[in-house]
């Protein structure tokens, strides 16, 4: 799991620029599926045939990550930027960022600002070490997107890195694809684009696939850190089965089915009620005439920072749960 997670979290792929991460994912799993397709939006859709009697299941993990888009290059070579997805001031100040072409930068803010609350993204800049506009424009153009630079680290069975949201989910789907043996259901594994800017890839891919059931796989927050927002999800206590978040109320039968399968294989699991946020299930469940949908979430601390933390055991158990769901009959 570690090698896969390292490869996935260290590959570049902010919303709208998913080419590289898509190539890496495709390489990882193409031998294990029956068909692969890339649609207009850039979603990677891997199809694994069932035994002909099962349901059509769409599993979705978004492969995009949040980023910083260059909006202006000033005379001295500093880059002004705006956010792609949920980039916060606090998580970005003095951090390192990296562009697609490997150019690195550090992020700072206009020094005259005295109160940290007055720092807004439009008063911050990326310093790529260029001495003037000309030098900067040789390396970076307006519209280029940088992501947090964050090599994977391991500590006490837990992984720290950038873009765990949602490369951890991608890792789960890839492992599931590889470990599926006797798949009863027609499985469409979709690595979606542009989730971080509005669940856009899931919307179009769900329309095209028109599945019987939708399952999103994404990270979720935890409530187990000092004075955290109240939330009954802990790191290491098993994959979380979603009840609701800001984008979806999961279909009760899908949720119950997930719980039954987790009980069947006797893995730890937890129930997730997320009071904010959203995931691909939010787009999938409203597609066409409505699609019963749910979500398996990976507990993750410090979401949308350069150092998100997940637990190895949660990932392993998440794979077991997904495999079990797909290898059994799905009755709704």
């Amino acid at each position: 799991m570690k090698d896969l997670l390292k490869k996935l979290t260290e590959t570049y792929g902010p919303s709208g620029n998913e080419e590289e991460i898509r190539r890496v994912i495709e390489e990882e799993m193409h031998e294990y599926v029956d068909e692969i397709d890339i649609d207009v939006m850039g979603n990677l859709i891997a199809y694994k045939k069932g035994n002909g009697q099962g349901k059509k299941v769409m599993l979705s993990a978004h492969m995009d990550q949040i980023g910083l888009i260059v909006t202006h290059i000033d005379d001295n070579g500093f880059l002004r930027f705006s956010n792609v997805g949920g980039i916060s001031v606090l998580n970005t100040i003095n951090g390192r960022v990296i562009f697609k072409n490997g150019i690195m930068g550090t992020v700072s803010y206009e020094e005259e600002i005295e109160n940290i609350k007055d720092i807004k993204l439009n008063r911050m800049y990326i310093d790529i070490g260029a001495s003037d506009r000309e030098e900067a424009t040789e390396k970076v153009s307006i519209g280029d997107v940088a992501v947090y630079y964050s090599p994977l680290a391991e500590s006490n069975g837990r992984y720290i890195g950038g873009a765990m949201d949602n490369r951890a989910g991608c890792a789960l789907l890839i492992k599931t694809i590889k470990e599926l043996k006797d798949c009863k259901n027609d499985a469409y594994f979709v690595f979606t684009v542009q989730e971080e800017v509005g669940l856009r890839g899931a919307k179009t891919s769900a329309y095209a696939i028109n599945p019987d059931v939708g399952i999103a796989v994404d990270v979720t927050s935890t409530g187990d850190t000092p004075k955290a927002r109240t939330m009954a999800v802990k790191l290491g206590a098993g994959p979380a089965i979603k009840v609701k978040d800001g984008s979806v109320i999961c279909h009760p039968k899908v949720k119950d089915l997930m719980i039954d399968r987790a009980e069947d294989i006797d893995i730890p699991y937890q129930i997730e009620v997320l009071e904010w946020g959203g995931t691909d299930a939010g787009a999938i469940h409203l597609t066409r005439e409505g699609i019963p949908s749910g979500a398996v979430s990976i507990p993750c601390r410090y979401v949308h920072s350069a150092n998100e933390m997940v637990d190895e055991k949660d990932l392993e158990n998440g794979v077991k749960l997904l495999v079990k769901i797909l290898e059994n009959e799905i009755e709704l």
Binding site: S15, G16, V40, M41, T71, V84, R200
Partner: protein, 339 residues
Amino acid sequence: MVELLRKLTEARGVSGNEDEVRDIIKGEISPLVDKVYTDGIGNLIAYKKGKSPDNKKRIMLCAHMDEVGFIITSISENGMLKFRPVGGIDPRILISKRVHIGKNRIPGVLGIKAIHLQEPNERKNAVKVEQMYIDIGANSKEEAAKLVKLGDYAIFDSKMVEFGENKIKAKALDDRVGCAVLIEVLKEEYEYDVYACFTVQEEVGLRGAGVAAYHVEPDIAMVVEGTTCSDVSGVDEHMYSTIMGSGPAITIMDGSSISNKKLVDMLKALGDAKGIPYQLKKGTTGGNDAGMIHTSKEGVATCVVSVPCRYIHSPSSVMDKSDFKNTIELVKEFVKGCE
């Protein structure tokens, strides 16, 4: 071209009430296209068949017909009208502006309690829409009710004016300038099928475009907008969204969509090859019809090109004629380039 812009910008067409604009556009384009019809929500859709016999591709061009404005919500005993804005309007620009209400264009003026009657804290704070009213010169509720009904729409009373160096001042340049661009583009013949969609209700939530895209099922879509231009005093250069006179603005990303990268590259290459100036839009906020179109059904490759307009959503937005002309050229080349 200027006369077309005059006709379009002076027409009344607040979101949900686009008939007058639609009729003008229909009159202009009927001789230029193979079929023109209005759909269930009010979008005007024009189909222009491509010359190529084996063409299968469908190109959707989109500009919204509606503008921001007001809707009358009640009539006070003293004959003053209370109203709500339709679409995003900065209330601070409203005081003392002239408006026209309803089909008969009943003239009115936006009023507020005089400054010497305001409490000190009222003077300090920005005015709210709730504090304002429309004065149509009526002495009583009965008199006002003879002229105006609840639900009537009001527009800014604003004539188009040419001024300065190549500039135009008008209301509703967002997005009648886009409508004008599409009309001009339809005057040429193309290889592929073109669907020009003049949409409704963009200003209240991109509502018409979603319906139009669902129906047209395009392979490629382009939205033509009048977008914000903030190249003015008191704004840091890195906050300029677009610069007037620097050509059509190509959007890379905004709040509602990330433009298809191949189409953006194609637009840049066309601009370079044909000598059409263009700029990249800097801001990433706001949204437009592309938001609905690009996620329609199985997804549509979509891009956005805009004419920079200062002071949009006001009675006096300003644009440069050269940007208008260059946008027409770029859109024409784009439709040809898709071949």
